[in-house]
């Protein structure tokens, strides 16, 4: 359940940003969840509710933007979408695939009032 701690960090980041702008309330958090970020959506949503309590983000919406996993092969240079974590290139078979996207959990933007 690292999702609770990650949700708290996301809310902290959001509150910092809102305070910088002198906003009094956060109405939404736009969160990018990579397919290989190792984060369960349901657990994140559950942790999010708890994390928002008694903060500027109380009652905020969680907008999840799902980012598909991508890889690029350092042997044949092919880029591909990945269904699961692997280092084997689906095109040339080399164990040379580098994850090039969809492995992050990040706060893209917030909506404030």
């Amino acid at each position: 359940m690292h999702e609770l701690s990650l949700a708290c960090s996301l809310v902290d980041l959001a509150c910092q940003r809102a305070q910088e702008e002198g906003a009094s309330r956060i109405t939404a958090l736009e969160v990018e969840v990579g397919a290989l970020a190792g984060v369960m959506r349901e657990a994140l949503a559950f942790g999010f509710e708890a994390a928002c309590r008694d903060t500027l983000a109380q009652g905020a919406r969680l907008v999840i933007i799902e980012e598909p996993a991508k890889g690029v092969c350092s042997a044949c240079r092919v880029t591909c979408r990945l269904a699961r974590f692997t280092i084997t290139c689906p095109a040339c078979g080399a164990a040379a695939l580098e994850i090039s996207g969809g492995d992050r959990l990040c706060l893209r933007a917030i909506e404030v009032a």
């Binding site: 084997t88 706060l107 933007a109 909506e111």
Partner: protein, 240 residues
């Protein structure tokens, strides 16, 4: 009022337009673009820098509950007695049991109880190191909470992550928990004294570990008999 979409107040350069004319004051969108672990990563950078200044070699030990982290540390500490100062940060949800075992083995320990928390974070390590006040040239082992998932995602500022798997857990663990094996530089395969009693193929385990992380080193050992400890101690001395 913004001329592009009619919202209010003006957009700072990095703020996209909400496209929400009528009700300008209602909401504004602010870009953030920060990783969820940003604050932890920053503290981990400070830790890493402090470890470098103190010439402290720090290792983050992770495994499922009961794979033998503390047992491996106890034997390691006895081997290193009189050669190198050893410090241990023990992460467990509850109890001081592991810190007490470490102290009996002869090293200085600080116990962190995470309560419901399933992993250590860099800030906890920073505070624990302050309490340890280590001598230069020392070796710091951070025993993470028993868990093969969450600890892999939190940098503590360590020099290397070590994953420990015991032969009673099944040789396909690297395939089931790729993040952990991808993050680790070393994989210790523990409890080899039990190999005659279980269906565990160390060769297959190594192969699956390398399939998610071609750079990983694997060492088989037994904290009970001491078999394989030479290779582990050699790996340790090669680090610093």
């Amino acid at each position: 009022m913004c001329t592009d979409c009619g919202c209010h107040p003006h957009h700072p350069d990095d703020t996209p337009h909400t496209g929400d004319p009528g009700d300008g004051y209602a909401s504004r969108r602010l870009l953030v673009e920060a990783a969820a672990t940003a604050a932890n990563d920053e503290t981990a950078r400070h830790n890493r820098e402090a470890f470098r200044r103190q010439r402290l070699t720090a290792l983050n030990l992770m495994s499922s509950p009961g794979a033998g982290k503390t047992s491996i540390l106890e034997r390691t500490i006895r081997h290193l007695a009189g050669r190198r100062p050893v410090y241990v940060i023990e992460g467990d949800q509850q109890t001081r049991n592991d810190a007490e075992r470490i102290e009996r083995a002869g090293a200085t320990a600080v116990q962190i109880n995470t309560g419901s928390g399933c992993h250590l974070e860099a800030g906890m390590v920073a505070r624990a190191v302050e309490r340890l006040d280590p001598l230069p040239g020392g070796l710091l082992f951070i025993e993470n909470v028993g868990n093969l998932v969450c600890p892999a995602m939190f940098d503590l500022g360590e020099q290397a992550k070590v994953v420990i798997i015991s032969v009673t857990e099944g040789d396909d663990k690297p395939e089931k928990y790729p993040y952990m094996f991808r993050a680790a530089r070393l994989c210790l395969i523990n409890k080899t004294d039990l190999l005659p009693y279980v269906d565990f193929d160390p060769g297959r385990c190594r192969q699956l570990a390398r399939a998610v992380n071609p750079h990983i080193t694997c060492i088989e050992l037994s904290a009970r008999t001491g078999e394989g400890f030479d290779a582990w101690l050699q790996w340790l001395s090669g680090l610093a």
